[in-house]
C-alpha cells in the first residue's frame, strides 16, 4: 500500500484538510480546492460550480444538513482525486459565499482510501493500493 502526504492548506488564517482535485462535466473541467469532509456522506459542490461545468442533473433527493432538510439535485461528474479518476454523482448544495471552498469530498470517495488526519503535523496521509 502506498502513501501520499499533503499538508493542510492555510485559508483565511485557518489550516484546512484541503486537496486539489479536477472536476469535469461534458464540456469543461476545472481544478479546485476540495475539503475532505467526513461529515458529508456524498461529495457536494456549489450550484454555481455545477452551472459553470454544465453538469447534467440526474436526480433529486432529500438531504439532511446541519441546519435543515432540503431537496437537492444530483449531478453526473468526473472527479480526479489524488490522481485517481471517479465517475460519480455529486450533490448540489449552497456553501456560504464567505467560505472559499466550493467542493466537499464526501465519504463516497474517501471510502476507497485509508486517510489519517494528522493534526499535530497539519498533514493528511492518504493510503491506497490504487496509487
Amino acid at each position: 500500500m502506498r502513501t501520499k502526504r499533503v499538508k493542510y492548506k492555510r485559508i483565511n488564517s485557518n489550516f484546512l484538510p484541503v486537496i486539489k482535485i479536477k472536476i469535469s462535466g461534458p464540456k469543461k473541467a476545472k481544478e479546485v480546492d476540495a475539503l475532505l469532509d467526513t461529515g458529508a456522506s456524498t461529495t457536494t459542490i456549489t450550484p454555481e460550480l455545477c452551472e459553470e461545468l454544465s453538469l447534467e442533473k440526474i436526480a433529486e433527493t432529500p438531504v439532511v444538513t446541519a441546519s435543515n432538510t432540503e431537496i437537492v439535485g444530483l449531478y453526473k461528474s468526473k472527479i480526479i482525486f489524488v490522481g485517481i479518476p471517479f465517475e460519480t454523482y455529486v450533490a448540489s448544495c449552497k456553501i456560504p459565499k464567505e467560505h472559499p471552498i466550493r467542493v466537499l469530498i464526501g465519504r463516497d470517495l474517501m471510502q476507497f482510501f485509508k486517510i489519517v488526519f494528522d493534526g499535530p503535523k497539519v498533514t493528511i496521509e492518504i493510503k491506497s493500493d490504487l496509487f
Binding site: G39, T42, A59, E60, T61, T65, I71, L74, Y89, A91
Partner: protein
C-alpha cells in the same frame, strides 16, 4: 423535475414490500416506476440510468426517513 405526488405515491404504494425486503437501501423512482434499488446512491443511479436513459429520478432511502445524504 420537481419531486411530485407521483413519486411519493409510487413509493407509498410499494413501501410495505420495499421496507420488508430492502430496508436501508436506496431506491430510484421515475414516471411512477421503481427504476432501481441499490446499496448506495452511486450504484442505484448507475443502474437506473442504464435502464431508463435520459430520465430524471427521485432518489430516497428505503425506510421511515427518506434522506440518503447527510452533510453535517
Amino acid at each position: 423535475m420537481k419531486i411530485g405526488k407521483i413519486e411519493m405515491k409510487t413509493y407509498n404504494k410499494s413501501s410495505h414490500e420495499l421496507e420488508r425486503n430492502h430496508l436501508g437501501k436506496v431506491v430510484a423512482i421515475t414516471d411512477g416506476k421503481i427504476a432501481a434499488i441499490g446499496k448506495d446512491i452511486n450504484s442505484t443511479l448507475k443502474l437506473a440510468e442504464k435502464r431508463y436513459p435520459r430520465k430524471t429520478f427521485y432518489v430516497r432511502k428505503i425506510g421511515k426517513n427518506p434522506e440518503a445524504i447527510f452533510i453535517l
